[in-house]
Amino acid sequence: MLTIEDLHVNIGDKPVLQGINLEIKKGETFILFGPNGSGKTSLLMALMGFSGYEVTRGRILFKGEDITQAPMYERARLGIGMSFQRPPTIHGLRTRHLVQMCSRKGKVNPELLAGRVNMTEFLDRDINAGFSGGEIKRSELLQLMAQQPELVLFDEPESGVDMENMQLVGKVARDVLDGNFNIAPDLSSDLTLKARKESTRTAGLIITHTGYILDYVNADRGQVLYKGHLCCEGRPRDILDHIRQHGYQECVRCMN
């Protein structure tokens, strides 16, 4: 689904990613660990195509297509969705309207989707205006549900979220990764229920600091990003336990 080959990224003159190689398969959930400033967010921004993140070497393939230089909206339309950490407020743009615009595949029911993330009363408010940390996460998930991406990029789904909200955010994040967008399943196909479930799963690339999100989602693989390099691949739980015990210092040794 997503293939990253020898990716080098600069912000201005400063290299932030130096030779990233990564493959995420269809429906697979991949967890990215790493200390502050290691380049995790930069990787997500570069994958989405934000201005200011310049690819100096390597390429990004999505569903076999080279999107290294593609504009953001093309990546989004191809099926990449992103949950923003600190989204901007847009005056006069109702959350409801944005949710409708997120769905290019056709009709969505904003009320129905909003009900699932407890955002009904926010539909007629300006997007992100005065939203708390937890409300931002819920609003981002609401937009992703409408967008129905095939790959979601989550930047720290647990940051700024209190325990009460975490449960809801975690559950809906899981729904999104399970491809459970409240769309009627295609019963005409010959696939078994299990196979159908597999085929609708959304791939995910999730950044986490605390690992709380692992309590909610089925993470398949994980890796540590350290100073612009990927290292230490393993099962996300194991990596998390390791970091908790030894910190990221181990990664330095591992790399050398």
Partner: protein, 386 residues
């Protein structure tokens, strides 16, 4: 400051026949009225006033709580309205006030009787119909104690009329515990010069809420209405949405003077220059405590143009709380990219943000006027200007 040569315009003799039924107007005139929020069938309106060139052609109330008159008739009926007429605006202020004083063509007198809560808006339109007409009007609004009303007033030029001058004096009196919502929509022409001179006074517990919308080109407009809050616990709020296409020169703003304890005010102006010039003034003076005022001037320059924001705060007592926020810039890149990450291309993202910026939902306008404004914004965006 730009100047207007009044000698170019005809200030004499452009009198018009009375119009009993606004439905008999030509479709083009009716369309112009609608742009200004005025519906010809007068449905869902409690009173109507229409001024064309030098005559008040239609003046009717459908609600006993509302008295609406041609100002000339009101001056006769109420013995010159000495307590009100020219008491807030200085008749000797400038050549425009002197012109209106010396040669009055009309204007509305609206009085909402004490305690009357008027549900449907009162509508008025001041229209320039003849080419090169100069129009002098003087409007007077009195909202008596405990009364509530919404006045929608539009100014426009008839279809095909290009040049004109509109000089308008307006004086507002919001009495104790009364509430006035005043919505003004301007649809002038590319060669029209406009000089409103307005002032109001709000008494104890009174509310003055003003909405202003200008989306069409106007050659030269200068106005700086001033509201004085003389009563304790009174409230004033101003919302403006203004666009200056190429050829427009706008010098506008709001001034609020808080002279009593417990007063609150808010001035919010959102302006877009697409080639024209906007001087966006704002002034809040606080001279009693407690008092709280906030001033906001947000400006976007799209393409080219000039936006000059001049926010002023003047506090003269310990304990006043005044703040302002001003910005002049372009559409923020992070907003564009946020929407592009949802699949909108750059043009879609930009127009969505501009439409949001110009959003007038907060004004609580009647549906038909809101639809007209939305339509105008779409037309504006469809043109090359944005």
């Amino acid at each position: 400051m730009s100047t207007v040569d009044l000698s170019q315009f005809t200030f004499e003799g452009l009198n018009r026949e009375a119009i009993d039924d606004l439905n008999t107007l030509s479709q083009e005139d009716k369309d112009q009225l609608l742009l200004a929020g005025v519906v010809a069938d007068e449905s869902m309106r409690s009173a109507s006033y229409l001024q064309m060139d030098h005559s008040a052609v239609h003046c009717r109330s459908h609600d006993e709580g509302v008295e609406i008159l041609d100002i000339k008739d009101a001056l006769k009926k109420y013995d010159g309205l000495k307590e009100y007429y020219w008491t807030l605006v200085d008749r000797d202020k400038d050549e425009f006030t002197r012109a209106a004083d010396g040669n009055l063509h009309g204007g509305y007198f609206i009085r909402v009787r004490a305690g009357a809560k008027i549900k449907d808006p009162i509508q008025s339109c001041l229209m320039l119909k003849a080419e090169n007409v100069g129009q002098n009007v003087h409007n007077l609004v009195i909202i008596e104690e405990g009364a509530e009303a919404h006045i929608i007033t539009g100014c426009s030029v008839a279809h095909g009329t290009k040049a004109g001058a509109h000089l308008g004096i307006s004086e507002f009196f919001v009495k104790k515990n009364a509430s006035l919502t005043f919505t003004m929509v301007h649809n002038w022409g590319e060669s029209v010069a406009v000089r409103p001179r307005s002032a109001g006074v709000v008494e104890e517990g009174g509310k003055f809420l003003s909405n202003y919308v200008l989306l069409k080109a106007v050659k030269d407009l200068q106005m700086y209405p001033s509201i004085t809050m003389n009563g304790a616990n009174s409230v004033a709020r101003f919302n403006s949405v203004v666009v200056a296409p190429r050829g427009s020169h706008l010098d506008l703003g709001n001034r609020v003077i808080m002279n009593a304890p417990g007063t609150r005010c808010e001035i919010i102006a959102r302006t877009i220059a697409t080639g024209g010039t906007i001087i966006n003034r704002g002034h809040i003076g606080a001279h009693a405590v407690p008092s709280k005022g906030h001033l906001e001037c947000q400006g976007l320059i799209l393409g080219d143009g000039r936006i000059w924001a001049i926010p002023e705060l003047d506090g003269t007592a310990e304990g006043v709380e005044l703040s302002h926020e001003a910005s002049v810039g372009k559409i923020a890149q992070d907003e564009i990219e946020y929407l592009m990450a949802r699949g909108l291309d750059e043009a879609e993202a930009t127009s969505t943000i501009v439409r949001g910026f110009l959003n007038t939902d907060i004004m609580g306008l009647p549906d038909r006027l809101q639809r007209e404004i939305d339509k105008q914004i779409e037309e504006l965006q469809a043109s090359d200007a944005m």
